[in-house]
Symmetry: C2
Subunit: 303 residues, 2 copies
């Protein structure tokens, strides 16, 4: 059951030839999601062989250009490639007019519908769910309204041990209750405990995306115990005052959020274009939080 | 005296990993111009080592996304890299609101001024000139308002033969008249013909950009005798009806325009993404016009 994140761009406001600006493609149980959509995202999706025609949900964290300027181009390409399936966009409300006006420049109507759901910048909110996954947005602390996103599998039902079905002559009709944890009463009146019949399901996995943001205790609450946390690390600590002024984080602060939130793994990215090498990021993170990885374009993270 | 065109993107509406969408960088006598600005142009400028911080004039042919969606990102990058010099944009008027609204999403004012001059879609018009060059726009025939651009050196003054200055004791004050073709009257009253004193200047060079357009006799008039013509060739002739329907040209039609306009060299591009190989383009063009080149991303054309 796949849950995989592909980093499409790990750079920040000024894209470079090695680091595109922010975008991530998430395949979670064959739901195909795009988080942020910087200029050039449609080519990054091709480059890293994402199933980009299957994307049905696009989450835009905020309206700095390095997080959304590729969106109209992507919608246009969907249209030209014959898409008819609707698409849902979760973004700041202002984006609606930007998309409308830009497409109006084209004098062209898309072949498919797009809907935009405004994000809540005050509180955590469930913005999408189906039978298998949930997506929440939660406020980040940036210069302009900005949200992080939390993508979670729903708790799965218990797994029934196959040999017990035969052993106790369990009927199909009984199975849904057992999967939800009920005990089983056999024809002879014996009660067999659920624990004997079933196994714990695989734990529900979770991924949180936090870009762009300065260090914030609220983020720690929002991402507590996630399996993988992507947290921006625009600067190293020698530029901590610049990070604060621009509402960004240092690598050390990203590690502190990961440690305090007790996440499974930390991925950092959104590096300022001034950093060619990332050694200093490693030096800052490793003493604070050991299970980390430095994002690079094309990196795939399996949960 | 450099006059060089760099093809930044030779693809059409759907960009691919091998062919970006439309943009060209022109260095004409150290005037740095950008023609069209598709998504990803700022990276193509870096990739092909254009002096992109020196660009002062941006010409946008029309408002299909593959010709302008990289503009706001480029302006944003200029801003972030500290630009303060103003920039002039020549484009359909609607683009003004698109830029304004998109930048407003950023909540950010650029450090430099930008001015937009609306194009004339009815008649050829001089849209920029300085002491050395002129740029005209001229209408193309496309689904929406669209202009081509003609970039020309001004006629240069005549070159004075250095040995004649000493021989006839010509003063500095006389030189401007001689450069403009006047004869010289020596102190003794002798008249020396200009032809004896000067040589023809190098001919003024010219470049025309025609994308997007269907075949049009008006184009032939507009680009007559240019040294280099870039003409779109979205399709091959087997798709001539599709070319007509979408207001594009076939490779053969591009060659016909070049031949009838008696240009020096033809460059074709704006290929539909369906063409992986370009052999059929060569087959169509070569019988009609021999001095041609097929554009590819990064190609530099020296005039």
């Amino acid at each position: 059951m796949r849950f995989e994140v592909t980093i499409l761009g790990c750079g920040s406001a000024v894209p470079t030839l090695n680091r595109s600006a922010s975008a991530q493609y998430v395949n979670v149980l064959e739901r195909h999601l795009l988080i942020d959509c910087a200029e050039g995202t449609q080519l990054q999706l091709r480059r890293y062989k994402a199933k980009f025609q299957k994307i049905d949900h696009i989450f835009i964290s905020h309206l700095h250009g390095d997080h959304f300027l590729g969106l109209v181009g992507l919608l246009s390409t969907f249209h030209l490639l014959g898409r008819t399936r609707p698409i849902r966009i979760y973004a700041p409300e202002k984006l609606r007019d930007i998309i409308d006006l830009t497409l109006h420049g084209f004098n062209n109507k898309l072949n498919f519908e797009w809907q935009l759901r405004n994000l809540n910048f005050k509180n955590k909110e469930l913005i999408f769910e189906d039978n298998l996954i949930e997506v929440h947005s939660f406020p980040l602390k940036h210069r302009i309204d900005c949200c992080g996103f939390l993508i979670q599998e729903k708790e799965r039902e218990r797994n029934i041990k196959k040999d017990k079905i035969l052993e106790h002559n369990i009927s199909l009709a009984d199975i849904p209750d057992l999967k939800r944890g009920a005990d089983f009463t056999a024809n002879n009146g014996d009660v067999i405990s659920n624990a004997e019949l079933t196994e714990d399901p695989l734990p529900a996995r979770s991924y949180a995306y936090c870009s762009d943001t300065m260090y914030s205790d609220a983020t720690i609450v929002a991402v507590r115990n996630v399996d993988v946390l992507y947290h921006e690390a625009t600067f190293t600590s020698d530029l901590a005052s610049r990070a604060k002024k621009t509402y960004h984080s240092t690598a050390k602060q990203a590690a502190e959020v990961a440690a305090k939130a007790e996440v499974g793994k930390l991925v950092v990215g959104h590096y300022s274009a001034r950093y060619k090498e990332l050694d200093k990021f490693e030096e800052e993170i490793s003493p604070v939080f050991s299970n980390y990885v430095l994002a690079e374009d094309g990196l795939k993270i399996k949960l």
